[in-house]
Amino acid sequence: MEGNRKVAIICSKGGLDEAYPALILANAARQSGIDAMVFFTFYGLDVIRKGKVDHLGVNMVGNPTSPITPMVAGLPGMSAMASTMMSKRMSQLDIPPAKEMLRILDDSGAKLYACELAMTMMNIKEAELIPEVDSVITASDFYDLSEGAQIVFV
């Protein structure tokens, strides 16, 4: 749409707490009639890979405001526990799981792209990506597509 407000979100991480901001922002943009695209790179690719998308997790070690000290948060099982707790909380609040969020994004007209360089680095084939992804693009393609858009790096 000419002259319509646009937003381009770069999703570079694969944790529940790291990828969801990108997905929610894109969805809210679409709900407000703003054109949206999400560019997945590096560990963000896990969000659009079959199989991986169903098992996104979270760990408290990287969170400086976590109530659990990193020494304890890094123990075996702590990450799984935190992920389970967060997933449970999200389903209690009726927040859709990542796969469904991506389907909603696709249905609402948001564009989903994968980063070619990151895919090469991490040895990921296009066939491994979920069907909702529109195409695999490079960084300069990203700049072409996001002309006039507000760019958000998550």
């Binding site: 929610i24 969805n27 809210a28 679409r30 709900q31 407000s32 009639g33 009726d94 927040i95 859709p96 389907r103 909603i104 249905d107 609402s108 007209g109």
Partner: protein
């Protein structure tokens, strides 16, 4: 020379008689006393016997030794108290007893003593065991009590030196008021215009949702850019209106998709942009809140 030297012989006789009578009385009294002693002899002996036996028994049971030690403790603890100090000590003891009774600590301590005795052979617990134990509500309650006691200890150590009389039992904290969402601000939206004669705010939502009727829908739909309304439109509009009337909140897109069974794609096809917002505008309900 006494005046009595020249006493009359008759007076002397009277006096002697008096003395005699007095002596008789004395002798009677003495006799009665002797009788009493004689009768109480055996009783006294028996009493003495019992007393001695009891005291010997007490000694064997260690009461005397204990008594001596108790006196020693009292002396060490109390020293040579002045009346004021004694009074202060007594006050402290009374206050302590009152507190223990008030706080129902006595039965708790009693149970604690018995339980602790039974559990004196608890297995050692490592750090993971601690984490596991923390999940037990009993342990959590115990921690709460221990922390309360520590807090009291801290307060006591920094509090006034003078002893206060027993404090009345602490009033239970009033149950926390259930936090209700703040009442939504009354819709004092300024009418920025009208659609079909009905005032709407600057974003296009009805200023007063209650004036909406289904007849307004075509006009409202035109205002958001839709000229023809399909059955899908009506399904969605009617659902949104009903949901707002029933729950007081405008449904967000996710709720509409879940409840009507229509998928996101279909909803995005209904309106040129922003399906959630357009639905609300045309259904005459407020703007939906939330992220989904």
């Amino acid at each position: 020379m006494h005046a009595r030297d020249n006493v009359h012989p008759l007076d002397l006789a009277a006096r002697l008689d008096l003395i005699d009578r007095r002596l008789d009385r004395l002798l009677d009294a003495e006799e009665r006393l002797l009788d009493l002693i004689e009768e109480s002899g055996p009783i006294a002996k028996e009493v003495m016997g019992v007393a001695t036996d009891t005291l010997m028994d007490a000694e064997q049971r260690g009461w005397f030794a204990a008594g001596r030690e108790a006196l020693r403790v009292a002396e060490a603890a109390v020293g040579e108290p002045t009346p004021e100090e004694s009074r202060a000590t007594a006050d402290a003891v009374i206050s302590l007893l009152d507190t223990v009774q008030d706080a129902d600590l006595l039965p708790v301590l009693d149970r604690l003593a018995r339980t602790a005795g039974r559990r004196s052979r608890s297995a050692p617990v490592g750090p993971m065991g601690v984490l596991k134990a923390l999940r037990d509500p009993d342990v959590q309650k115990g921690l709460g009590v221990a922390l309360d006691l520590l807090g009291a200890l801290g307060r006591a150590s920094t509090g006034k030196r003078a002893l206060t009389p027993a404090r009345p039992a602490r009033k239970p904290r009033p149950a926390p008021q259930p936090r209700t969402a703040p009442a939504p601000a009354p819709a004092v939206a300024v009418a920025a215009g009208t659609i079909a004669g009905i005032p709407v705010d600057d974003l296009g939502y009805l200023v007063d949702p209650c004036v909406w009727t289904e007849d307004l829908v075509p006009e409202l739909a035109k205002a958001v850019g839709v000229d023809t309304l399909t059955d899908t439109h009506w399904t969605v509009l009617r659902f949104a209106r009903k949901d707002w009337e029933e729950t007081g909140k405008s449904p967000n897109l996710r709720r509409i998709t879940l409840e009507t069974g229509l998928d996101t794609k279909a909803l995005y096809a209904l309106w040129p942009v922003a399906p959630g917002k357009c639905t609300a505008k045309v259904a005459g309900i407020p703007k939906p809140t939330g992220c989904l």
